[in-house]
């Protein structure tokens, strides 16, 4: 971990070595480790210490960027020179609004000393305790437990400086039993919420219940989606259409639908980078404080999230959702939600199941891909436990199914929302989502397992 003062000195060095009119510097660091297990043994156990400085310069409306993971003065000067050379070789970006003016994000606590101090031995003990459960139950467990500290900091030549250090612990496991499987996953910034053994036991129990699955034909069924599956639904809606660039280019599910009822009134989704019930980061990669943005309010789309460039195009202010603009792929993605919450309801999982006469209970989705953006049509597979519901009760396991489903239509037919939420990790943040009961979900293919 570098720490705020070392980062401040590093940024002063980097900004001082740039001769451009405007310069922006972003630091991303990760000091973490991951213990991986499979076949009831630890098979990969790794540690990583990485830091990266992203430099972006503007010469008028000409913009260039460079990235280095060497933090010595010569490397920072080389990066600044490369960024300037890139800007000089580039025509003007007509809608480049300049780097943001200074704003002061309120710090948010997301650092747990216990996570930062987690040792290889601690991770091994946690994993070994889980593997003992699996062995006792005749199951075979695989998965990963990671812990670490990340730092993100942003400064620019207009006076922006912000720094955040946070911890992150992520655990996931797939337990196998006689060819069937179960799953459990959680992410958090606090150590005490990550009960590896309890989660592992739930995956083992799910795997045992999923043994000897029966075949059912593809078709349209009512479903209860566990939060793992719901993260996929909400995640595609967020990444494929809740950023301003997608809306401005007309390829979002939101286009022409903002302000009108589109989804079930039980569906409310927002992004809040400051909520400690997520994995908070108080500012984006341009140094703009993160604002709470309601994306869907009781079924009505309210609008996307913005970065500085997409906001300027509409005469608005950034909502604090910029990706690292020095990354080439960020240009195509535009701003995106990263700390997503779906409002829980009042029903327990048993109550959600209890309202289904004949339908399916789905643990999670796998390998999902966007087929068509307008209605957020996605295809993918079920995985790690699918069950037939009969008369309001989970009756028996069934074989996995392929689905091809408009997630807009799925969220329009939500009839029940779970009271409990899971916090699940994502690349830049996390999702906290409940279980859902959906009236119609279309499965288009079957498997042999």
């Amino acid at each position: 971990m570098l720490g705020q003062e070392q980062v401040r000195r590093l940024f002063a060095e980097a900004l001082g070595r740039s001769r451009a009119e405007q310069t922006e510097v972003v630091l991303l660091s990760w000091d973490g480790a991951l213990t991986r297990f499979a076949n009831n043994t630890m098979h990969q156990n790794v540690a990583e210490h990485e830091a990266q400085v992203l430099v972006r310069v503007a010469l008028g409306k000409r913009v260039g960027s460079a990235i280095t993971n060497r933090l010595d003065p010569e490397a920072l000067e080389r990066a600044a020179a490369q960024a300037e050379a890139a800007a000089r070789a580039t025509p003007e970006v007509p809608d480049f609004p300049g780097f943001p003016e200074p704003q002061t994000p309120e710090p948010v606590l997301a650092f747990d000393e216990a996570v930062a101090a987690a040792s290889p031995q601690w991770r091994a003990q946690q994993v070994e305790a889980l593997l003992r459960v699996a062995r006792e139950e005749g199951a075979v467990a695989a998965g990963a437990l990671s812990t670490g500290v990340h730092e993100v900091a942003v400064a620019n030549s207009k006076g922006v400086f912000c720094y955040h250090a946070g911890t992150r612990v992520v655990f996931s496991t797939v337990a196998h039993s006689d060819g069937a499987s179960g799953y459990a996953e959680r992410a958090d910034w606090r150590l005490e919420v990550s009960d590896v053994v309890t989660l592992g036991r739930s995956a083992v129990e799910r795997a045992k219940r999923a043994r000897n699955p029966r075949e059912i034909p593809p078709g349209t069924y009512p479903v209860v989606l566990e939060p793992y599956a719901v993260q996929d639904v909400v995640g595609w809606m967020a990444s494929a259409g809740a950023g301003a660039l997608a809306v401005q280019e007309g390829r979002s599910w939101m286009n022409g639908r903002v302000g009108t009822r589109l989804l079930s009134e039980l569906v409310t989704v927002w992004d809040d980078g400051r909520d400690p019930d997520g994995i908070p980061v108080p500012f984006d990669f341009e140094g703009v404080p993160k604002h709470r943005v309601v994306i869907v309010d009781r079924g009505v789309p309210r609008g996307p999230v913005y970065d500085t460039q997409t906001a300027a195009k509409e005469g608005k202010s950034s909502t604090g959702h910029a990706l690292p603009r020095a990354w080439p792929e960020a240009a195509a993605a535009g701003p995106l939600p990263a700390h997503v919450f779906m409002e829980p309801g009042t029903a327990t999982l048993e109550e959600l199941v209890g309202r289904v006469e004949r339908g399916l209970y789905v643990t999670r989705f796998w390998y999902t891909r966007l087929v068509h953006p307008r209605d957020c049509v996605v295809t993918g597979m079920t995985r790690d436990g699918v069950f037939w519901i009969e008369g309001g009760e989970v009756a028996y396991p069934v074989r996995n199914l392929r689905f091809t489903q408009g997630y807009v239509q799925a969220l329009a037919s939500v009839e029940g929302v779970g009271v409990d939420t899971y916090l699940l990790g994502d690349r830049f943040g996390a999702y906290r989502v409940p279980a859902l009961r959906v009236a119609e979900f279309t499965f288009t293919g079957a498997t042999e397992f």
């Binding site: 480790a33 009831n40 156990n45 970006v93 080439p328 960020a330 195509a332 966007l370």
Partner: protein, 490 residues
């Protein structure tokens, strides 16, 4: 660098490692992204660090750092040993790497024109010209173009005595046009989708693709797709373009033959495989025209190198021979394990076939595809279409999904044409096909010849935790499949 490598190996052995290797990796990457007539990003990235892999107390440990100094070298080596000892708390058997591998030498990607010697201005101009050609077409709403150049220098050394240096150069390029009307969104890409096509070659690769010359067609097809009929739902004959065949090989064969995956190492994330060891040498994977190799020596492939990240030399091995499943991708540990499981046979040597690769200095090497190639057949594409009474020709991937055992797949393509009476007729939009891997490959009755064969680059292959994005290659030509279920948007 030699001093750092020596310090790592010494420190690891002093800390108790029975085996250690170190990779020092330095990468420079240049990318240019153009969007809607404006340069959205010109980026230069340098990245360096080292990773240390050890066996101590019979178990693996790995640690890595971006700090290339001697003090850090010793700290990271000792940390790797500490981690290995923690791993040993839950080991069931000792790591067995088989006989030592001792290799010395150097390898360099052959290039005609070093892409880093071509001016940035020339690269920007090329993309802007292609972008302008696309935007001339009425109805296009978004245009994109991308160039990527990578130079990676690697040093590998092990306590067994290997010392290797390699310089790998990659060049990639792509353009894409999107048209939107009345809620319909259509796109066309060239030479491939998901950003770009890429090879281990120099600037000459980009020149050969002729982005500017292809730009008008790409844009016109994107607009034409808005008015095209949806792909009808039917069971029919399917002809796939070469880049889609490459992806089909990647997903339904390449991942399924990773022996670590077969042994369950990826069960917690990417999944397992239907190609279990009992099928080796006796399972009919495809029809007799299906011949697949893993070939790290083919020129231009993204999986082409001198040695893998365990120091095992690049090689070509058979995976599917005349439809029969005959080989896996292996590393030192899994090759040994397979040999212990099955004993020696024409398909089991006990030695790695050189596919252990790490995505960077901060990642552990694992089995990754090299260039998994469908070997060319005998057909010309025109003859293949002429030989087809009724069917659909699909090209360029748009979406891909496959289950965690690599059996049930569904792929969408950007574009299709109906085939009637041996002729390519009306254009079809949102085409999708689905199937079960061995049934699909057994239904393959024709593969086009070497004149259609391209080593496609897949620079976005994900596997492992922490995630590793590998660059893999797939030689492929258009191919025909019978009795395939196709449909429209779903």
């Amino acid at each position: 660098m030699d001093e750092l490598v020596a310090r790592v190996l010494n420190a690891a052995q002093l800390a108790g490692a029975a085996y250690a290797d170190v990779r020092v990796v330095e990468t420079v990457r240049q990318a240019v992204v153009v969007r809607n007539g404006a340069v959205q990003g010109v980026n230069w990235t340098e990245d360096a660090g080292f990773g240390v892999r050890v066996v101590a107390d019979g178990a693996w440990g790995f640690a890595s750092s971006y700090r290339l100094d001697l003090e850090e070298a010793a700290r990271v080596a000792q940390l790797a040993v500490q981690i290995a000892r923690a791993s040993a708390l839950a080991k069931r058997e000792d790591v067995d790497l088989g006989p030592p591998v001792v290799q010395r030498g150097s390898y360099r990607t052959p290039v005609d024109v070093d892409p880093f010697q071509v001016s940035l201005e020339a690269k920007v101009e090329l993309l802007l010209r292609a972008d302008e050609e696309m935007r001339r077409v009425r109805g296009v709403t978004t245009t994109e173009g991308e160039l990527v150049f990578i130079r990676q220098r690697k040093t590998f050394a092990s306590t067994e005595g290997s010392l290797l240096t390699q310089e790998i150069v990659e060049s990639g390029c792509g353009i894409q046009a999107t048209a939107v009307r009345d809620g319909e969104v259509q796109q066309r890409s060239y030479p491939n989708s998901v950003g770009r096509h890429q090879q281990t070659r120099g600037w000459e690769f980009v020149v050969e693709q002729d982005l500017v010359g292809n730009a008008p067609r790409v844009a016109e097809e994107a607009v034409a797709l808005l008015s095209a009929d949806p792909c009808p739902e039917e069971v029919t004959t399917l002809i796939l373009g070469g880049s889609q065949v490459a992806l089909q090989v990647h997903e339904s064969c390449g991942h399924a033959i990773e022996l670590d995956r077969v042994f369950g190492a990826e069960a917690g994330f990417a999944g397992t495989s239907f190609l279990t060891p009992d099928k080796l040498g006796n399972f009919r994977y495809g029809s007799e025209v299906v011949n697949i190799t893993a070939d790290a020596t083919v020129p231009g492939g993204l999986g082409t190198f001198g040695w893998d990240d365990e120091g095992v030399p690049a090689q070509r091995v058979d995976i599917v021979r005349e439809g029969l499943f005959v080989g896996y991708l292996t590393d030192r540990e899994t090759a040994r394990r397979l040999w212990k499981l099955l004993g020696p046979s024409p398909y089991v040597t006990g030695e790695s076939n050189g596919t252990s690769r790490a995505s960077g200095w901060n990642r552990i090497p694992m089995i990754r595809m090299t260039n998994v190639n469908l070997l060319p057949g005998t057909w010309k594409l025109e003859d293949l279409i002429a030989d087809t009474d009724r069917g659909v020709f699909m090209d360029t991937n748009r979406s891909w999904s496959i289950d965690d055992r690599r059996l049930n797949f569904q792929f969408g393509c950007e574009i299709a044409w109906e085939i009637r009476n041996g002729k390519r007729t009306r254009m079809l939009r949102n085409p999708i096909y689905t199937g079960i891997t061995p049934e699909f490959w057994r239904s393959c009755d024709a593969v086009c010849d070497a004149t259609h064969w391209v080593v496609w680059g897949t620079p976005n292959c994900g596997k492992g935790e922490p995630m590793q994005v590998a660059h893999t290659g797939h030689g492929a030509a258009p191919a025909r499949f019978r009795n395939v279920r196709v449909f429209g948007k779903g």
